[in-house]
């Protein structure tokens, strides 16, 4: 194996490790831009993973699995939406509840699938472009979810900052009272954002159980939902920075694998703890810059909207 193809192999695995983070984080970014803090990403993700796997096993088609994962992510997010948007429940506690429920549900549903070999999603080579040396196989011979993740970043950027829909989402996240008095339905906008977040988390889950390791393993999200949440903070609510952040994290988690394989003296467990440690360090670095955090944080993030009287 030449050096170049070695690097290429490493980069390929980094893309694989980064994609679920990117998918989940870009969804949560939209949710938070609308002023809602959904901490249940981990729960929606793992339900997406198990439902995606189950539907794929049942139908033989990973594409149906992907759709099932999105639907189940949305269903979970609707539970969250009902509690926080209609019943004004505390968003932090409800997000935790969603995670606990999701982990429980996925364990129960997934029990029948433990040890079953899955059907993996095949990459789709984009004609011509995939022929470009080095870059081609890396960027243009991927599965549909990797393409989707790039598409989503671009789409979210354009919708949020170049369209009226995005303007409304940002307005609702900045000052829900004003948005309401201008006649926008705060609850409706937030429901749609929360559902979008659910669909993205579902996709991220599907990526794990259909591509990353095409099988069902209990608790297979392993905290990725939480890392995605941290990524949104890291990115200070900007789509392009989410992309960068997800890839940085993917790189950290892959490089620690390779370091382990290369026989670096550190115990494997400590290397495995590295991504979590990296998350903490990144959060510290971001929060140290107070003005940056203050200017970009959606002003209504986590606050319930109670229409006057």
């Amino acid at each position: 194996m030449s050096d170049l193809s070695m690097i290429e192999a490493v980069l390929l695995t980094i893309i694989t490790a980064s994609t679920p983070l990117l998918l989940a984080a870009i969804g949560e970014l939209v949710v938070e831009r609308s002023g809602v803090l959904n901490l249940g990403v981990e729960g929606m993700m793992i339900v997406g993973a198990v439902m995606g796997f189950a539907a794929t096993q049942a139908t033989g088609s990973p594409y149906i699995g992907i759709v099932a994962a999105m639907i189940s992510g949305v269903a979970m997010s609707l539970l969250f939406g009902f509690l926080t948007l209609n019943l004004m429940a505390n968003q932090v506690a409800t997000g935790l509840a969603l995670t606990i429920l999701g982990l429980g549900l996925s364990g129960m549903v997934g029990e029948a699938f433990i040890g079953q070999p899955g059907i993996s999603l095949k990459p789709i080579a984009i004609p011509v472009l995939s022929g470009i040396p080095f870059i081609g196989p890396l960027l243009f011979n991927q599965d549909v979810l990797v393409y989707a993740s790039y598409g989503l970043v671009i789409a979210v950027y354009f919708v949020l900052f170049r369209s009226r829909t995005g303007l409304i989402i940002r307005a609702v996240g900045d000052n829900h009272g004003s948005a309401h008095s201008l006649g926008y339905s705060v609850i409706q906008v937030r429901y749609l954002a929360v559902m979008f977040g659910g669909a993205c988390s579902g996709l991220a889950g599907a990526y794990l159980s259909l591509i990353y390791t095409p099988q069902w393993v209990e608790g297979m999200t392993a905290g990725r939902g939480w890392i995605a949440l941290a990524l949104v903070v890291f990115a200070s609510w900007r789509p392009a920075r989410v992309l960068i952040g997800a890839y940085l994290f993917g790189a950290v988690s892959i490089l620690q694998f390779h370091a382990q394989a290369a026989g670096i003296g550190l115990p494997t467990q400590l290397m495995s703890a590295l991504p979590y440690l990296a998350t903490i360090i990144v959060l510290i670095m971001i929060s140290r810059n107070k003005t940056l955090a203050k200017v970009n944080t959606p002003a209504c993030l986590g606050k319930p909207f109670v229409p006057d009287r």
């Binding site: 901490l39 539970l79 009902f82 509690l83 209609n86 019943l87 004004m88 429940a89 505390n90 932090v92 506690a93 409800t94 935790l96 509840a97 969603l98 606990i100 429920l101 999701g102 982990l103 429980g104 549900l105 364990g107 129960m108 029990e111 339905s185 609850i187 392993a222 905290g223 939480w226 949440l229 941290a230 903070v233 115990p267 467990q269 400590l270 495995s272 703890a273 979590y276 440690l277 998350t279 903490i280 959060l283 510290i284 929060s287 140290r288 107070k290 955090a293 109670v306 229409p307 006057d308 009287r309």
Partner: protein
């Protein structure tokens, strides 16, 4: 016709008590539906879950063994949550408390003086506190989000435990099993009665009483509640928001650490890679179900302890997967949060259809 929420002028005292009961009722109803959908008779399943464990003294004892750590951790979390700090890493503080509490029995196993146990208790508490002080420090110093940092530290604690029991702390005579040596009798918490019940439950009851007193009778408790509800008014009263963050994290971390130490020294009597069936997370449910009130938490801890035992019993008697327990717990928390709405709002049936656009706008 549709249902609207109307804000009450004050908290409803009645609903404060009733809403958790409604939540439990709704969980049982949904649980029954779940059992039916899985092909079980719901009456049988609910019996196996919630009644059968209460029919033998062995399982009642086991219930108390499970409820002990849940109550201990949840009481600490209630202090934290009341002050509006979100420590959701109790599982990690539990693990670190267990590790710190095991230093004597694993590394200094021949130190069998009567001082050993009190020292272990102290080290357990300190271990949990130390782990909790990381997110507290980061929040106070840099404003780092404590939810994410405390949670990340759970994973890190888990890997440290795993590393120790597979590496340096592995029992040399343990045939390469990933376990520490079995604790000396001098390092095991005293039992209550003949069975597995140990004095960890007493720690829990003490914690309930002390924290209840602290929250309801002392200036410190007043400070915590003010800072949790309206930090601006708290600063006006001269309270320090950083002080409250530290206090909440140290109390919850210390109690979680104590729970971890008690679990290892009282129940398992050695270190293994898995020492908790998710106590640190289940305790979040316990705290909310108990309405962040230590007395309520005592009852809530017993109920959630029962759900663990019930899961095992239903698995034995009906062949029902014990994964259902986690689903039950998750549903319960959802219903608790949903029913809490009743404390500050009342439902009102509105007959006007044209008001649709103003959902909730009474």
């Amino acid at each position: 016709m549709r249902i609207e929420l109307e804000k009450r002028a004050e908290h409803s005292q009645l609903m404060t008590v009733v809403s958790p009961l409604i939540a439990i009722g709704l969980t049982l109803v949904c649980g029954s539906i779940l059992f039916v959908s899985m092909g079980y008779n719901p009456i049988d399943a609910l019996y196996a879950y919630f009644i059968e464990p209460l029919t033998t003294s062995w399982s009642i004892e086991e219930l108390l063994v499970k409820a002990g750590p849940l109550v201990l951790i949840a009481v600490g979390l209630s202090v934290c949550f009341l002050s509006n700090s979100w420590n959701i890493g109790a599982e990690g503080q539990f693990t670190m408390g267990a590790l710190a509490g095991s230093i004597i029995p694993v590394l200094f196993y021949d130190f069998t003086s009567p001082l050993a146990l009190p020292l272990m208790v102290l080290m357990g508490i300190l271990g949990g506190m130390a782990w909790a002080s990381i997110p507290a420090f980061l929040k106070v110093r840099f404003g780092t989000n404590e939810i994410l940092t405390s949670l990340m530290l759970v994973y890190i604690a888990q890997y440290i435990l795993d590393f120790l029991v597979r590496g340096p702390w592995r029992d040399p005579e343990g045939f390469n099993f990933p376990e520490s040596r079995i604790f000396d009798a001098a390092h095991v918490l005293p039992k209550i009665g003949e069975g597995r019940l140990h004095i960890g439950m007493i720690f829990a009851i003490l914690a309930v009483l002390v924290v209840w007193w602290m929250l309801s009778r002392t200036l410190k408790g007043f400070e915590i509640k003010v800072m949790g509800e309206t930090p601006r008014a708290g600063r006006f009263a001269g309270f320090s928001s950083n002080g409250v963050v530290w206090f909440g994290f140290l109390v919850s971390g210390g109690l979680a650490g104590l729970a971890g130490m008690a679990e290892v020294s009282g129940s398992i009597e050695q270190l293994t890679p898995v020492i908790s069936p998710g106590y640190g997370f289940t305790a979040i449910i316990v705290a909310f179900l108990g309405r962040l009130n230590p007395i309520g938490i005592l009852f809530a801890g017993l109920l959630l302890g029962l759900s663990y035992i019930g899961g095992e019993s239903a698995q034995v008697s009906l062949g029902l997967t014990d994964k259902v327990t986690r689903v039950f717990q998750g549903m319960l928390l959802f219903f608790v949060l949903a029913c809490d709405t009743l404390i500050l709002y009342r439902f009102k049936i509105a007959s006007s259809v044209k008001n649709m656009k103003e959902a909730g706008n009474v």
